[in-house]
């Protein structure tokens, strides 16, 4: 996989997080319906963005520290292990948070969004594109297989940019969806379109873990 595709993947993951109703836009729409104003929808987005960003950045920072001490491949195996375990856990025991409500201010939304992103392992999903995949063995390479598919590691100096690209995709899709649902379709479309993101999400985590191992 070329470096360019890594950036595309990071952006696409951001879009995917953005379209999940559980990651923010639906809460923003609910705020708008409470106040009966589109402005309230948009006002809810910055704190939700901050919470998500903080969760992703914290996870990336932890990995950043780890990569200073761990050999690169050990880091990849560790990341894959965490992704697989977390994905399977979310698959068999999806739970939702329980302590919030509908009257939330700025800090409440930041905290909620941080917990949602962390609980769902939003940052974890980025790992394959930061650490890179374990890659083909020398034997495979000699036979001309594998190299094209493997994910190259991104130099840690570019990780902040990776977070930024991811967050941009997230913000873009979350904002567009919130606007579309509040202003155009109405929340009635939830009935038909709220697919089981928890299930898809768990599978995506598992897939991310596998990507590190097999590519």
């Amino acid at each position: 996989m070329s470096r360019a595709w890594v950036w595309v993947a990071l952006f696409a993951l951001g879009c995917y997080h953005g379209i999940n109703p559980g990651m923010g836009w639906l809460f923003a729409v609910a705020m708008g319906l409470q106040e009966k104003s589109l402005r309230a929808v948009f006002a809810a987005l910055p704190p939700i963005l901050i919470g998500h960003l903080a969760s992703v950045a914290a996870l990336v920072a932890i990995v950043g520290v780890a990569q200073r001490t761990l050999p690169q491949n050990d880091l990849r195996y560790a990341a894959a292990g965490v992704l697989l375990v977390f994905g399977v856990l979310r698959l068999v025991r999806a739970r939702h948070i329980r302590w919030v409500g509908m009257r939330v201010g700025f800090s409440g939304l930041v905290t909620w969004s941080f917990l949602m992103a962390t609980g769902h392992g939003a940052g974890l999903m980025l790992l394959p594109f930061l650490t890179g995949s374990v890659g083909p063995k020398d034997a495979d390479l000699r036979m001309g297989m594998g190299q094209a598919m493997s994910i190259p590691a991104l130099p840690p100096a570019q990780w902040p940019l990776a977070i930024a690209v991811h967050t941009f995709g997230y913000l873009l899709i979350m904002t567009a969806t919130a606007w579309l649902v509040y202003d155009r379709t109405g929340v009635g479309i939830l009935k038909a379109t709220w697919v089981n993101f928890d299930l898809v999400w768990a599978l995506a985590l598992i897939l991310s873990g596998l990507l590190i191992l097999v590519l």
Partner: protein, 464 residues
């Protein structure tokens, strides 16, 4: 695991009104004699096109005895769409059925055979008490985060009563709901304004005040509940009590507006010590505080002493005994059950402070003994009690039994069970469906729940 939200979940109450008509109704049936008898859940065919319309088509008997089934509910409902804890891929599938006397919780699975649900879990009263400190379970509501169940008493059968939480995935009792109950002691019903993180609770009495029947001494001393309590739903703390006054005895059913943006609701009081009347009150915001305003008074009707049960003989009047109310999903019509006088009223409450009486039917009643058009000559006892409205607001079902020991006091000849259905006209007005008259010989019907949800089963986080 569902890939799409459960089709019976609706983001808003207005959207839920467009739901297809229900085809089945579940009715809690309590054994007539009590003492070692099994209560049951009946299934009534409410599909007018079906050959078994208005008939019992299935039932499940509770495996244990002496439960006194009361206000059961669903494991999940439209509140699963609430944005802060969305989990709409859970199914509306299990009926959570509490025993008001036994404190047990039965979980009934309606999916394999909707007409004959199966008991798939029993939580014994002992376990409920050990985990939550509560007993005598009453109302069940599916919340955005948990199943909530109110309890009249503590583990020892005294006060305080309160609310416990039940996990909506595995139905384990998670503990008491309250973090700080303040002065609240008596409990009965609860409901919420989800859009405002507000919980409201009402008051009846502790188990020892009700289980042997209505205690005239306690009543005349004004000891039954006469307060409303407002809580922070999020912090689980008591915020404010409002005393309706000790003459208003037993503050029961809470019906908040379904639109989460609104902040008012209706509550009934059963009997006034001044004149035996019942009343309906509106709670509402008043600046930073909560306030109540009495909006409906239903007077007692003069009666011949000979027609009255011993408890009422001296009063020479029959009290209306309003013991249930229900609000349509558009917050437009309020239905009021007068269990004593045998009348069901419909009010237009578009303006909650100025209700307009738009309909009334008579059936049963302590003195009236009104009959149903399906059997015009047959005198009926019991009176309109648990009332449930279809989601579209066009059909209204009700049953006639209240609570066994109280049934015996007000209808000493023994309540003979029936369930009826009304058709509601679009702009007000109600009439009996002559084809729908279900009689119960073996047990007494109480709470009704409609397949897919009804006007008191679901709560919503979205307005519009």
């Amino acid at each position: 695991m569902q890939l799409k939200p459960d089709p019976t979940f609706y983001p808003s109450a207005t959207m839920a009104m467009k739901a297809p008509p229900e085809k089945l109704a579940y009715v809690a049936m309590l054994s007539i004699k009590g003492q070692g008898q099994h209560d049951a859940m009946a299934d009534i065919d409410v599909d007018p096109a079906s050959p078994t319309y208005g008939k019992r088509v299935g039932q499940v008997e509770m495996p244990q005895t002496d439960d006194e089934l009361h206000h059961f509910g669903w494991n999940a409902c439209s509140s699963a769409l609430c944005p802060w804890a969305g989990h709409p891929h859970i199914e509306r599938r299990y009926l959570i059925v509490p025993g008001l006397r036994s404190s047990r919780i039965y979980v009934l699975d309606t999916k394999p055979d909707p007409r004959n649900p199966k008991v798939v879990k029993v939580v014994e009263g002992k376990e409920v008490a050990a985990r939550s400190g509560y007993s005598r379970l009453h109302t069940v509501h599916c919340g955005p985060d948990d199943i909530y169940i109110s309890a009249l008493g503590n583990g020892g059968g005294k006060g305080p009563g309160g609310i416990l939480r039940l996990d909506h995935y595995d139905f384990t009792v998670k503990g008491p709901w309250e973090a700080d109950r303040g002065p609240q002691y008596l409990a009965y019903d609860f409901f919420w304004h989800l859009g405002h993180d507000v919980m409201v609770t009402s008051e009846w009495g502790t188990p020892d005040m009700i289980e042997d029947g209505l205690n005239a001494e306690l009543l005349l001393a004004g000891k039954y509940g006469h307060q409303l309590h407002f809580w922070d739903l999020r912090k689980r703390t008591h915020v404010q009590s409002i005393d309706l006054g000790p003459e208003y005895q037993a503050v029961l059913e809470l019906r908040p507006s379904h639109d989460p943006n609104k902040t008012y609701g209706f509550v009934d009081t059963v009997i006034s010590l001044k004149d035996l009347s019942s009343s309906i009150w509106v709670w509402h915001r008043d600046g930073e505080k909560w306030a109540v305003t009495k909006v409906i008074d239903i007077p007692a009707e003069p009666a011949d002493e000979a027609d009255l049960p011993p408890l009422l003989k001296g009063f020479k009047a029959v009290p209306p005994l309003v013991t249930d109310i229900d609000l349509s999903l558009d917050d437009r019509f309020l239905y009021v059950s007068c269990w004593g006088t045998g009348e069901l009223r419909q009010y237009d409450v578009s303006d909650p402070f100025k209700p307009k009486l738009t309909g009334s039917v008579h059936i049963g009643g302590i003195v009236r003994r009104g009959s149903h058009p399906a059997k015009p000559g047959q005198k009926l006892n019991g009176g309109p009690q648990m009332v449930e409205i279809s989601r579209d607001g066009k059909r209204v079902y009700f049953t006639n039994s209240l609570y066994r020991s109280w049934d015996e006091q007000f209808y000493p000849d023994g309540v003979k069970g029936w369930m009826v259905k009304l058709d509601a006209a679009e702009n007000g007005g109600i009439s009996f469906d002559e084809r729908f008259f279900v009689e119960f010989d073996d047990r007494r019907p109480h709470q009704v729940r409609l397949e897919g949800g009804d006007a008191s089963s679901d709560s919503f986080c979205f307005s519009g």
